[in-house]
Protein backbone atom coordinates (compact mmCIF):
# COMPACT_ATOMS: atom_id res chain seq x y z
CA UNK A 1 0.00 0.00 0.00
CA UNK A 2 1.35 3.37 -0.96
CA UNK A 3 1.99 5.98 1.71
CA UNK A 4 2.94 9.61 1.49
CA UNK A 5 6.54 10.16 2.49
CA UNK A 6 9.21 12.81 2.33
CA UNK A 7 12.19 11.91 0.13
CA UNK A 8 14.78 12.08 2.88
CA UNK A 9 12.70 9.94 5.22
CA UNK A 10 12.01 7.45 2.45
CA UNK A 11 15.76 7.05 1.89
CA UNK A 12 16.31 6.44 5.59
CA UNK A 13 13.51 3.86 5.78
CA UNK A 14 14.78 2.10 2.65
CA UNK A 15 18.26 1.89 4.17
CA UNK A 16 16.93 0.26 7.32
CA UNK A 17 14.92 -2.19 5.22
CA UNK A 18 18.10 -2.98 3.28
CA UNK A 19 19.74 -4.11 6.50
CA UNK A 20 21.65 -0.93 7.34
CA UNK A 21 21.94 -0.88 11.11
CA UNK A 22 24.52 1.89 11.48
CA UNK A 23 24.12 5.53 10.64
CA UNK A 24 26.72 8.16 11.41
CA UNK A 25 26.04 11.74 10.38
CA UNK A 26 26.18 15.44 11.08
CA UNK A 27 23.04 17.55 10.56
CA UNK A 28 22.93 19.85 7.55
CA UNK A 29 20.03 21.35 5.63
CA UNK A 30 18.39 20.07 3.41
CA UNK A 31 19.25 16.52 4.48
CA UNK A 32 18.46 16.70 8.21
CA UNK A 33 15.41 14.46 8.00
CA UNK A 34 17.76 11.56 7.28
CA UNK A 35 19.60 11.71 10.63
CA UNK A 36 16.34 12.65 12.38
CA UNK A 37 14.55 9.61 10.99
CA UNK A 38 17.52 7.39 11.79
CA UNK A 39 17.75 8.68 15.36
CA UNK A 40 14.07 7.82 15.79
CA UNK A 41 14.02 4.43 14.07
CA UNK A 42 17.45 2.85 14.49
CA UNK A 43 16.91 1.91 18.11
CA UNK A 44 13.73 -0.06 17.49
CA UNK A 45 15.42 -1.69 14.51
CA UNK A 46 18.26 -2.92 16.70
CA UNK A 47 20.71 -0.54 15.11
CA UNK A 48 22.82 2.44 16.09
CA UNK A 49 22.46 6.10 15.23
CA UNK A 50 25.38 8.30 16.19
CA UNK A 51 25.67 12.03 15.72
CA UNK A 52 29.27 12.69 14.75
CA UNK A 53 31.16 15.87 15.65
CA UNK A 54 31.65 16.71 11.96
CA UNK A 55 31.23 15.29 8.50
CA UNK A 56 34.94 14.51 8.60
CA UNK A 57 34.37 12.30 11.64
CA UNK A 58 31.13 10.88 10.21
CA UNK A 59 32.72 9.56 7.03
CA UNK A 60 35.57 8.04 9.03
CA UNK A 61 33.10 6.35 11.37
CA UNK A 62 31.52 4.96 8.22
CA UNK A 63 34.99 3.75 7.25
CA UNK A 64 35.38 1.97 10.60
CA UNK A 65 32.00 0.26 10.50
CA UNK A 66 32.41 -0.71 6.85
CA UNK A 67 35.90 -2.08 7.59
CA UNK A 68 34.50 -4.50 10.16
CA UNK A 69 32.00 -5.67 7.55
CA UNK A 70 28.70 -4.06 8.61
CA UNK A 71 26.21 -2.20 6.42
CA UNK A 72 26.57 1.50 7.11
CA UNK A 73 25.33 4.79 5.71
CA UNK A 74 25.76 8.51 6.12
CA UNK A 75 23.71 11.35 4.69
CA UNK A 76 24.72 14.94 4.11
CA UNK A 77 24.39 17.97 1.85
CA UNK A 78 26.94 19.62 -0.40
CA UNK A 79 29.23 21.48 2.06
CA UNK A 80 29.26 18.38 4.24
CA UNK A 81 29.86 16.23 1.18
CA UNK A 82 32.90 18.40 0.42
CA UNK A 83 34.26 17.63 3.89
CA UNK A 84 33.86 13.91 3.22
CA UNK A 85 35.97 13.82 0.07
CA UNK A 86 39.15 12.70 1.82
CA UNK A 87 37.19 9.84 3.34
CA UNK A 88 35.79 8.78 -0.04
CA UNK A 89 39.29 8.43 -1.45
CA UNK A 90 40.32 6.23 1.51
CA UNK A 91 37.09 4.22 1.36
CA UNK A 92 37.78 3.43 -2.28
CA UNK A 93 41.40 2.45 -1.70
CA UNK A 94 40.59 0.28 1.32
CA UNK A 95 37.67 -1.18 -0.72
CA UNK A 96 35.16 -0.61 2.04
CA UNK A 97 31.53 -0.88 0.96
CA UNK A 98 29.20 1.86 2.21
CA UNK A 99 26.40 4.16 1.11
CA UNK A 100 26.58 7.96 1.16
CA UNK A 101 23.61 10.21 0.45
CA UNK A 102 24.23 13.71 -0.90
CA UNK A 103 21.14 15.92 -0.88
CA UNK A 104 22.59 18.73 -2.94
CA UNK A 105 22.21 22.39 -2.04
CA UNK A 106 23.55 25.33 -3.92
CA UNK A 107 27.13 26.57 -3.71
CA UNK A 108 29.90 27.43 -3.98
CA UNK A 109 30.77 28.33 -0.40
CA UNK A 110 28.06 28.21 2.21
CA UNK A 111 25.77 28.90 -0.73
CA UNK A 112 22.06 28.61 -0.19
CA UNK A 113 19.46 26.03 0.73
CA UNK A 114 17.90 25.81 -2.72
CA UNK A 115 18.18 22.73 -4.91
CA UNK A 116 21.11 22.23 -7.22
CA UNK A 117 22.99 19.61 -9.20
CA UNK A 118 26.28 21.46 -9.00
CA UNK A 119 28.01 18.63 -7.12
CA UNK A 120 28.08 16.68 -10.39
CA UNK A 121 31.82 17.08 -10.90
CA UNK A 122 32.56 16.23 -7.28
CA UNK A 123 30.25 13.22 -7.46
CA UNK A 124 31.41 11.77 -10.74
CA UNK A 125 35.00 12.91 -11.21
CA UNK A 126 36.14 12.42 -7.62
CA UNK A 127 36.50 15.31 -5.18
CA UNK A 128 39.17 13.43 -3.26
CA UNK A 129 42.70 12.62 -4.34
CA UNK A 130 43.84 9.82 -6.62
CA UNK A 131 42.17 7.72 -9.30
CA UNK A 132 38.92 6.50 -7.82
CA UNK A 133 35.22 6.31 -8.51
CA UNK A 134 32.09 5.80 -6.51
CA UNK A 135 28.97 4.50 -8.21
CA UNK A 136 26.56 7.44 -8.27
CA UNK A 137 22.81 6.78 -8.36
CA UNK A 138 20.53 9.69 -9.24
CA UNK A 139 16.86 8.99 -8.50
CA UNK A 140 14.19 11.32 -9.86
CA UNK A 141 11.26 10.45 -7.58
CA UNK A 142 10.69 9.45 -3.99
CA UNK A 143 9.84 5.92 -5.14
CA UNK A 144 13.09 5.70 -7.03
CA UNK A 145 14.92 7.00 -3.96
CA UNK A 146 13.57 3.99 -2.08
CA UNK A 147 14.34 1.46 -4.80
CA UNK A 148 17.85 2.72 -5.51
CA UNK A 149 18.79 3.14 -1.85
CA UNK A 150 17.89 -0.49 -1.19
CA UNK A 151 19.94 -1.58 -4.15
CA UNK A 152 22.83 0.72 -3.26
CA UNK A 153 23.83 -1.48 -0.31
CA UNK A 154 23.94 -4.57 -2.51
CA UNK A 155 25.95 -2.81 -5.19
CA UNK A 156 28.39 -1.54 -2.55
CA UNK A 157 28.88 -5.02 -1.08
CA UNK A 158 29.06 -6.65 -4.50
CA UNK A 159 31.94 -4.49 -5.71
CA UNK A 160 33.39 -3.60 -2.29
CA UNK A 161 32.99 0.00 -3.38
CA UNK A 162 31.36 3.18 -2.15
CA UNK A 163 27.97 3.99 -3.61
CA UNK A 164 26.53 7.51 -3.55
CA UNK A 165 22.84 8.34 -3.80
CA UNK A 166 22.67 11.88 -5.17
CA UNK A 167 19.52 13.97 -5.13
CA UNK A 168 18.81 17.68 -5.01
CA UNK A 169 17.07 19.51 -2.19
CA UNK A 170 13.67 19.34 -3.88
CA UNK A 171 13.70 15.54 -4.04
CA UNK A 172 14.91 15.35 -0.46
CA UNK A 173 12.17 17.64 0.79
CA UNK A 174 9.13 16.76 -1.30
CA UNK A 175 6.46 14.22 -0.41
CA UNK A 176 5.22 11.63 -2.87
CA UNK A 177 3.33 8.36 -2.61
CA UNK A 178 5.78 5.56 -2.07
CA UNK A 179 5.76 1.79 -1.66
CA UNK A 180 8.28 -0.53 -0.08
CA UNK A 181 8.01 -3.73 -2.07
CA UNK A 182 10.01 -6.78 -0.99
CA UNK A 183 13.45 -6.61 -2.49
CA UNK A 184 15.31 -9.56 -3.95
CA UNK A 185 18.96 -8.75 -3.40
CA UNK A 186 22.05 -9.79 -5.29
CA UNK A 187 23.93 -12.93 -4.37
CA UNK A 188 26.79 -11.72 -2.23
CA UNK A 189 29.90 -13.43 -0.95
CA UNK A 190 30.68 -13.38 2.79
CA UNK A 191 32.98 -10.56 3.86
CA UNK A 192 36.01 -12.71 4.62
CA UNK A 193 38.26 -9.66 4.18
CA UNK A 194 36.72 -7.64 7.03
CA UNK A 195 38.71 -6.65 10.12
CA UNK A 196 36.04 -7.98 12.45
CA UNK A 197 38.25 -9.80 14.95
CA UNK A 198 40.49 -12.70 13.91
CA UNK A 199 38.48 -15.47 15.56
CA UNK A 200 39.62 -18.79 14.16
CA UNK A 201 41.26 -17.30 11.08
CA UNK A 202 44.46 -15.44 10.13
CA UNK A 203 44.39 -11.72 10.83
CA UNK A 204 42.99 -9.23 8.33
CA UNK A 205 44.31 -5.76 7.62
CA UNK A 206 42.07 -3.20 5.93
CA UNK A 207 44.41 -0.48 4.71
CA UNK A 208 44.80 2.02 1.90
CA UNK A 209 48.52 2.54 1.38
CA UNK A 210 51.38 1.06 -0.58
CA UNK A 211 54.94 2.16 -0.11
CA UNK A 212 56.65 1.21 -3.32
CA UNK A 213 55.76 2.69 -6.70
CA UNK A 214 55.61 -0.74 -8.37
CA UNK A 215 53.05 -1.95 -5.82
CA UNK A 216 51.28 1.40 -6.19
CA UNK A 217 50.96 0.85 -9.89
CA UNK A 218 49.76 -2.74 -9.61
CA UNK A 219 47.17 -1.75 -6.99
CA UNK A 220 45.95 1.09 -9.18
CA UNK A 221 45.72 -1.26 -12.15
CA UNK A 222 43.74 -3.73 -10.06
CA UNK A 223 41.37 -0.96 -8.97
CA UNK A 224 41.26 0.17 -12.58
CA UNK A 225 39.93 -3.26 -13.58
CA UNK A 226 37.20 -2.93 -10.99
CA UNK A 227 36.37 0.54 -12.30
CA UNK A 228 36.15 -0.91 -15.83
CA UNK A 229 33.89 -3.72 -14.63
CA UNK A 230 31.57 -1.27 -12.84
CA UNK A 231 31.57 0.95 -15.91
CA UNK A 232 30.65 -1.97 -18.12
CA UNK A 233 27.99 -3.48 -15.86
CA UNK A 234 26.26 -0.69 -13.96
CA UNK A 235 25.22 1.92 -16.52
CA UNK A 236 21.56 2.79 -16.07
CA UNK A 237 19.20 5.19 -17.75
CA UNK A 238 15.56 5.73 -18.43
CA UNK A 239 13.99 7.09 -21.59
CA UNK A 240 10.87 9.09 -22.30
CA UNK A 241 9.52 9.24 -25.86
CA UNK A 242 12.92 8.47 -27.32
CA UNK A 243 11.89 5.81 -29.90
CA UNK A 244 11.09 8.24 -32.70
CA UNK A 245 12.90 11.25 -31.26
CA UNK A 246 15.01 13.45 -33.53
CA UNK A 247 16.21 15.59 -30.64
CA UNK A 248 17.17 14.43 -27.16
CA UNK A 249 17.18 16.18 -23.84
CA UNK A 250 19.62 14.79 -21.30
CA UNK A 251 18.67 15.48 -17.69
CA UNK A 252 18.62 13.72 -14.31
CA UNK A 253 16.81 14.17 -11.00
CA UNK A 254 14.57 17.20 -10.64
CA UNK A 255 15.65 18.74 -13.94
CA UNK A 256 14.53 15.53 -15.67
CA UNK A 257 11.07 15.91 -14.11
CA UNK A 258 10.84 19.47 -15.45
CA UNK A 259 12.19 18.43 -18.83
CA UNK A 260 9.56 15.72 -19.18
CA UNK A 261 6.92 18.47 -19.21
CA UNK A 262 8.98 20.42 -21.77
CA UNK A 263 9.08 17.29 -23.96
CA UNK A 264 5.27 17.05 -23.80
CA UNK A 265 4.93 20.72 -24.76
CA UNK A 266 7.26 20.35 -27.75
CA UNK A 267 5.54 17.13 -28.83
CA UNK A 268 2.24 19.03 -28.88
CA UNK A 269 3.85 21.33 -31.42
CA UNK A 270 4.79 18.26 -33.46
CA UNK A 271 8.50 18.42 -32.70
CA UNK A 272 9.95 14.96 -32.16
CA UNK A 273 11.86 15.29 -28.92
CA UNK A 274 12.56 12.81 -26.16
CA UNK A 275 14.27 12.63 -22.79
CA UNK A 276 17.31 10.52 -21.98
CA UNK A 277 17.63 10.37 -18.20
CA UNK A 278 20.86 9.04 -16.66
CA UNK A 279 20.02 7.02 -13.54
CA UNK A 280 23.70 6.41 -12.89
CA UNK A 281 25.76 9.59 -13.11
CA UNK A 282 28.84 7.43 -12.74
CA UNK A 283 29.17 5.30 -14.71
CA UNK A 284 27.54 7.68 -17.17
CA UNK A 285 25.18 5.64 -19.38
CA UNK A 286 27.25 6.19 -22.48
CA UNK A 287 26.16 2.93 -24.11
CA UNK A 288 22.50 3.95 -23.99
CA UNK A 289 23.13 7.47 -25.24
CA UNK A 290 25.51 6.33 -27.99
CA UNK A 291 22.88 3.91 -29.27
CA UNK A 292 20.49 6.83 -29.84
CA UNK A 293 22.97 9.07 -31.65
CA UNK A 294 22.27 7.83 -35.22
CA UNK A 295 18.68 9.14 -35.01
CA UNK A 296 19.49 12.39 -33.17
CA UNK A 297 19.94 15.78 -34.84
CA UNK A 298 20.76 17.65 -31.64
CA UNK A 299 20.90 17.29 -27.86
CA UNK A 300 20.33 19.58 -24.92
CA UNK A 301 21.58 19.06 -21.40
CA UNK A 302 19.25 20.51 -18.76
CA UNK A 303 21.02 21.10 -15.48
CA UNK A 304 20.82 22.90 -12.15
CA UNK A 305 24.45 23.97 -12.46
CA UNK A 306 26.67 26.03 -14.74
CA UNK A 307 26.73 23.02 -17.06
CA UNK A 308 28.70 20.12 -15.67
CA UNK A 309 27.08 16.99 -17.08
CA UNK A 310 27.08 18.63 -20.52
CA UNK A 311 30.82 17.89 -20.67
CA UNK A 312 30.13 14.15 -20.46
CA UNK A 313 27.34 14.45 -23.02
CA UNK A 314 29.73 16.20 -25.41
CA UNK A 315 32.38 13.51 -24.90
CA UNK A 316 29.89 10.86 -25.98
CA UNK A 317 28.39 12.86 -28.84
CA UNK A 318 31.94 13.63 -29.96
CA UNK A 319 30.93 16.29 -32.47
CA UNK A 320 28.32 14.16 -34.22
CA UNK A 321 25.50 16.56 -33.32
CA UNK A 322 25.14 20.00 -31.72
CA UNK A 323 24.82 19.96 -27.93
CA UNK A 324 22.96 22.76 -26.19
CA UNK A 325 22.63 23.65 -22.54
CA UNK A 326 19.70 24.94 -20.48
CA UNK A 327 20.67 25.81 -16.95
CA UNK A 328 19.65 27.55 -13.77
CA UNK A 329 21.95 28.03 -10.81
CA UNK A 330 22.12 29.07 -7.19
CA UNK A 331 18.99 27.24 -6.07
CA UNK A 332 16.70 28.22 -8.95
CA UNK A 333 14.91 25.75 -11.21
CA UNK A 334 13.79 26.40 -14.81
CA UNK A 335 10.14 26.48 -15.84
CA UNK A 336 9.33 23.98 -18.61
CA UNK A 337 8.73 27.02 -20.87
CA UNK A 338 12.33 28.12 -20.36
CA UNK A 339 13.51 24.66 -21.42
CA UNK A 340 11.31 24.81 -24.52
CA UNK A 341 12.59 28.30 -25.33
CA UNK A 342 16.26 27.34 -24.86
CA UNK A 343 15.71 24.32 -27.09
CA UNK A 344 14.17 26.39 -29.88
CA UNK A 345 16.86 29.06 -29.68
CA UNK A 346 19.85 26.78 -29.47
CA UNK A 347 18.81 23.73 -31.50
CA UNK A 348 16.13 24.94 -33.89
CA UNK A 349 17.75 28.30 -34.41
CA UNK A 350 14.62 30.27 -33.54
CA UNK A 351 13.49 32.05 -30.43
CA UNK A 352 10.12 31.88 -28.75
CA UNK A 353 7.45 34.11 -30.30
Amino acid sequence: MAMLMKGNEAIAEAAIQAGCRLFYGYPITPSTEIPEYMSKKMKSSGGTYLQAESEVAAINMVYGAGAVGERVMTGTSSPGFSLMQEGLSYLFAAEIPCVIVDVMRSGPGLGGLGPTQADYFQLTKGGGHGDYHGIVLAPASVQEMVDLTKEAFDIADYYRNLVIVAVDGILGQMMEPVEFPPYQGRKLSPKTWAASGAEGRPKNNVISYYLTPDLGESENLRWGQKISLMKESEQRFSEYLMDDAEFAFVAFGTSARITETAVDMLREEGIKVGLFRPVTLWPFPEKGLSARLPQIKGLMSVELSSGQMVEDVKLIVNGQAPVGLCKRQGGMTPEPEEVVDAFKKQLLGRGQG
Binding site: G197, E199, N205
Partner: protein
Protein backbone atom coordinates in the same frame (compact mmCIF):
# COMPACT_ATOMS: atom_id res chain seq x y z
CA UNK B 1 66.43 -25.09 29.94
CA UNK B 2 63.91 -22.76 31.46
CA UNK B 3 62.51 -20.10 29.11
CA UNK B 4 62.46 -16.77 30.87
CA UNK B 5 61.54 -14.53 27.93
CA UNK B 6 59.91 -15.09 24.55
CA UNK B 7 58.43 -12.85 21.97
CA UNK B 8 54.75 -12.42 22.61
CA UNK B 9 52.18 -13.99 20.30
CA UNK B 10 50.50 -10.56 20.33
CA UNK B 11 53.13 -9.48 17.80
CA UNK B 12 53.70 -10.95 14.34
CA UNK B 13 57.05 -12.14 13.00
CA UNK B 14 57.47 -8.96 10.95
CA UNK B 15 60.59 -7.01 12.01
CA UNK B 16 59.91 -3.43 13.14
CA UNK B 17 60.92 -0.66 10.76
CA UNK B 18 61.59 1.80 13.59
CA UNK B 19 64.88 3.67 13.90
CA UNK B 20 67.51 2.50 16.40
CA UNK B 21 66.73 3.87 19.85
CA UNK B 22 63.10 4.70 19.07
CA UNK B 23 60.79 3.54 21.84
CA UNK B 24 57.81 2.63 19.63
CA UNK B 25 59.15 -0.93 19.70
CA UNK B 26 58.91 -1.11 23.49
CA UNK B 27 55.36 0.22 23.43
CA UNK B 28 54.39 -2.25 20.72
CA UNK B 29 55.75 -5.09 22.80
CA UNK B 30 53.76 -4.02 25.86
CA UNK B 31 50.57 -3.90 23.83
CA UNK B 32 51.34 -7.24 22.20
CA UNK B 33 51.95 -8.80 25.61
CA UNK B 34 48.67 -7.46 26.95
CA UNK B 35 46.73 -8.67 23.91
CA UNK B 36 48.14 -12.11 24.66
CA UNK B 37 47.84 -12.01 28.45
CA UNK B 38 44.30 -10.64 28.40
CA UNK B 39 43.29 -13.11 25.71
CA UNK B 40 42.37 -10.37 23.26
CA UNK B 41 44.21 -11.32 20.06
CA UNK B 42 41.14 -12.83 18.39
CA UNK B 43 38.79 -10.23 19.83
CA UNK B 44 40.74 -7.08 19.13
CA UNK B 45 40.43 -4.60 16.27
CA UNK B 46 43.29 -2.13 16.22
CA UNK B 47 43.32 1.14 14.32
CA UNK B 48 46.62 2.33 12.90
CA UNK B 49 47.37 6.05 12.40
CA UNK B 50 49.36 7.96 9.85
CA UNK B 51 52.81 8.73 11.16
CA UNK B 52 55.74 6.59 12.27
CA UNK B 53 53.34 3.95 13.56
CA UNK B 54 51.46 3.95 10.27
CA UNK B 55 52.61 0.41 9.53
CA UNK B 56 51.80 -1.01 12.94
CA UNK B 57 49.02 -3.12 11.42
CA UNK B 58 51.83 -5.39 10.27
CA UNK B 59 53.13 -5.88 13.80
CA UNK B 60 50.09 -6.60 15.94
CA UNK B 61 48.63 -10.11 15.61
CA UNK B 62 45.04 -8.91 15.70
CA UNK B 63 42.84 -7.52 12.93
CA UNK B 64 43.84 -3.97 12.03
CA UNK B 65 42.36 -1.03 10.14
CA UNK B 66 44.53 1.72 8.66
CA UNK B 67 42.97 5.16 9.19
CA UNK B 68 43.54 8.50 7.48
CA UNK B 69 45.72 10.97 9.37
CA UNK B 70 44.01 12.06 12.59
CA UNK B 71 40.91 9.94 12.06
CA UNK B 72 41.84 6.82 14.01
CA UNK B 73 39.47 7.58 16.88
CA UNK B 74 36.56 8.20 14.50
CA UNK B 75 37.35 4.96 12.68
CA UNK B 76 37.56 3.14 16.02
CA UNK B 77 34.23 4.66 17.06
CA UNK B 78 32.63 3.40 13.86
CA UNK B 79 34.10 -0.05 14.39
CA UNK B 80 33.22 -0.30 18.07
CA UNK B 81 29.63 0.87 17.59
CA UNK B 82 29.33 -1.72 14.84
CA UNK B 83 30.87 -4.48 16.96
CA UNK B 84 30.39 -3.63 20.65
CA UNK B 85 31.56 -7.16 21.49
CA UNK B 86 35.06 -6.40 20.20
CA UNK B 87 38.03 -4.79 21.90
CA UNK B 88 38.95 -1.71 19.88
CA UNK B 89 42.08 0.37 20.30
CA UNK B 90 43.85 3.16 18.46
CA UNK B 91 47.60 3.64 18.30
CA UNK B 92 48.44 7.24 17.44
CA UNK B 93 51.25 9.74 17.51
CA UNK B 94 51.13 13.28 18.84
CA UNK B 95 50.36 14.82 15.45
CA UNK B 96 47.60 12.34 14.77
CA UNK B 97 45.91 12.62 18.16
CA UNK B 98 46.66 16.14 19.34
CA UNK B 99 46.81 18.19 16.13
CA UNK B 100 44.92 17.07 13.05
CA UNK B 101 42.77 14.65 15.06
CA UNK B 102 42.20 16.77 18.14
CA UNK B 103 38.48 17.19 17.47
CA UNK B 104 38.05 13.45 16.99
CA UNK B 105 39.93 12.65 20.21
CA UNK B 106 38.07 15.11 22.41
CA UNK B 107 34.68 14.30 20.88
CA UNK B 108 35.14 10.54 21.31
CA UNK B 109 36.17 11.16 24.90
CA UNK B 110 33.10 13.33 25.46
CA UNK B 111 30.86 10.58 24.14
CA UNK B 112 32.62 8.10 26.41
CA UNK B 113 33.33 5.80 23.50
CA UNK B 114 34.26 2.40 24.84
CA UNK B 115 37.60 2.32 23.10
CA UNK B 116 41.20 2.70 24.26
CA UNK B 117 43.64 5.16 22.74
CA UNK B 118 47.39 4.81 23.00
CA UNK B 119 48.94 8.19 22.36
CA UNK B 120 52.68 8.22 21.72
CA UNK B 121 54.19 11.62 22.33
CA UNK B 122 57.73 12.13 21.07
CA UNK B 123 57.41 15.89 20.63
CA UNK B 124 58.15 15.77 16.92
CA UNK B 125 56.83 14.64 13.55
CA UNK B 126 59.07 11.66 12.95
CA UNK B 127 57.65 10.16 9.78
CA UNK B 128 57.82 13.36 7.76
CA UNK B 129 61.35 14.06 8.90
CA UNK B 130 61.37 16.05 12.12
CA UNK B 131 58.90 18.90 11.87
CA UNK B 132 57.34 20.70 14.82
CA UNK B 133 54.61 18.77 16.63
CA UNK B 134 51.75 20.12 18.77
CA UNK B 135 53.75 18.74 21.68
CA UNK B 136 57.17 20.16 20.72
CA UNK B 137 58.65 22.00 23.68
CA UNK B 138 59.21 25.74 23.73
CA UNK B 139 62.69 26.34 22.38
CA UNK B 140 62.84 22.92 20.70
CA UNK B 141 64.57 23.00 17.32
CA UNK B 142 62.79 21.10 14.59
CA UNK B 143 62.96 21.37 10.81
CA UNK B 144 60.00 23.79 10.87
CA UNK B 145 61.12 25.61 14.02
CA UNK B 146 64.81 25.87 13.07
CA UNK B 147 65.43 28.66 15.60
CA UNK B 148 63.54 26.83 18.31
CA UNK B 149 59.81 26.80 19.06
CA UNK B 150 58.91 30.39 19.84
CA UNK B 151 55.86 30.49 22.11
CA UNK B 152 54.81 33.93 20.87
CA UNK B 153 54.42 32.89 17.23
CA UNK B 154 54.12 29.10 17.47
CA UNK B 155 52.29 28.69 20.71
CA UNK B 156 52.77 26.25 23.53
CA UNK B 157 52.92 22.47 23.64
CA UNK B 158 49.51 20.90 24.11
CA UNK B 159 49.17 18.60 27.10
CA UNK B 160 46.39 16.41 25.73
CA UNK B 161 45.98 14.00 28.67
CA UNK B 162 45.60 16.96 31.01
CA UNK B 163 42.84 18.35 28.80
CA UNK B 164 41.09 14.99 28.69
CA UNK B 165 40.86 14.84 32.48
CA UNK B 166 38.26 17.60 32.15
CA UNK B 167 36.10 15.52 29.84
CA UNK B 168 33.50 13.47 31.65
CA UNK B 169 33.38 10.55 29.24
CA UNK B 170 37.12 9.96 29.54
CA UNK B 171 37.12 7.67 32.57
CA UNK B 172 40.75 6.68 32.60
CA UNK B 173 43.57 9.02 31.64
CA UNK B 174 47.19 8.17 32.29
CA UNK B 175 50.41 9.85 31.26
CA UNK B 176 53.43 7.58 31.42
CA UNK B 177 56.84 7.11 29.80
CA UNK B 178 59.31 4.43 28.77
CA UNK B 179 62.78 5.78 29.61
CA UNK B 180 63.61 3.13 32.26
CA UNK B 181 62.63 -0.43 33.19
CA UNK B 182 60.59 0.96 36.07
CA UNK B 183 58.78 3.42 33.78
CA UNK B 184 58.11 0.64 31.28
CA UNK B 185 56.51 -1.45 34.03
CA UNK B 186 54.32 1.49 35.04
CA UNK B 187 53.34 1.97 31.42
CA UNK B 188 52.28 -1.65 31.10
CA UNK B 189 50.21 -1.31 34.26
CA UNK B 190 48.47 1.77 32.86
CA UNK B 191 47.78 0.05 29.54
CA UNK B 192 46.36 -2.99 31.31
CA UNK B 193 44.03 -0.75 33.31
CA UNK B 194 42.97 1.13 30.19
CA UNK B 195 42.18 -2.12 28.39
CA UNK B 196 40.29 -3.51 31.38
CA UNK B 197 38.21 -0.35 31.60
CA UNK B 198 37.08 -0.87 28.03
CA UNK B 199 36.31 -4.53 28.70
CA UNK B 200 34.26 -3.43 31.72
CA UNK B 201 32.37 -0.99 29.48
CA UNK B 202 33.16 2.03 31.64
CA UNK B 203 34.03 4.55 28.93
CA UNK B 204 36.93 6.07 27.05
CA UNK B 205 40.44 5.19 28.23
CA UNK B 206 43.51 7.09 27.15
CA UNK B 207 47.17 6.41 27.81
CA UNK B 208 49.74 8.97 26.77
CA UNK B 209 53.27 7.64 26.56
CA UNK B 210 56.30 9.92 26.37
CA UNK B 211 58.58 8.42 23.75
CA UNK B 212 61.91 9.17 22.06
CA UNK B 213 62.96 10.11 18.56
CA UNK B 214 66.78 10.07 18.49
CA UNK B 215 66.88 10.39 14.71
CA UNK B 216 64.93 13.64 14.51
CA UNK B 217 66.02 15.01 17.85
CA UNK B 218 69.56 14.66 16.49
CA UNK B 219 70.93 12.79 19.53
CA UNK B 220 72.04 9.23 20.21
CA UNK B 221 69.64 6.76 21.85
CA UNK B 222 71.08 7.20 25.35
CA UNK B 223 70.99 10.99 25.13
CA UNK B 224 67.44 10.66 23.87
CA UNK B 225 66.35 8.88 27.04
CA UNK B 226 68.05 11.63 29.03
CA UNK B 227 66.29 14.34 26.98
CA UNK B 228 62.94 12.64 27.61
CA UNK B 229 63.66 12.54 31.34
CA UNK B 230 65.07 16.02 31.79
CA UNK B 231 63.10 18.04 29.22
CA UNK B 232 59.80 16.30 28.50
CA UNK B 233 58.90 14.86 31.87
CA UNK B 234 59.02 18.20 33.70
CA UNK B 235 56.67 19.79 31.20
CA UNK B 236 53.88 17.24 30.85
CA UNK B 237 51.53 16.19 33.64
CA UNK B 238 52.45 12.63 34.62
CA UNK B 239 50.86 9.71 36.38
CA UNK B 240 47.35 8.34 36.52
CA UNK B 241 45.60 11.65 35.97
CA UNK B 242 42.09 10.25 36.18
CA UNK B 243 40.77 6.90 37.33
CA UNK B 244 37.19 5.67 37.60
CA UNK B 245 35.43 6.72 40.79
CA UNK B 246 34.41 3.09 41.34
CA UNK B 247 38.00 2.24 42.10
CA UNK B 248 38.20 4.98 44.67
CA UNK B 249 40.42 6.95 42.35
CA UNK B 250 40.84 10.70 42.15
CA UNK B 251 38.25 11.16 39.39
CA UNK B 252 39.71 14.69 39.09
Amino acid sequence: MKTIFTKTSGLTERPFHYCPGCTHGIIHRLIGELLEEMNLIEKAIGVAPVGCAGFCENYFSCDMIGAAHGRAVAVATGAKRARPDRFVFTYQGDGDGASIGLAETVSAAARGEKISSIFVNNAIYGMTGGQMAPTSLVGQRTSTSPYGRDAVTMGFPLDLPKILTQVEGAVYVASVSVESPQAIKETKKALRKAFQIQLDGLGYSFVSILSTCPTNWGVDPVEALDWLTTKMKPYFALGELKTPALEGGSNS
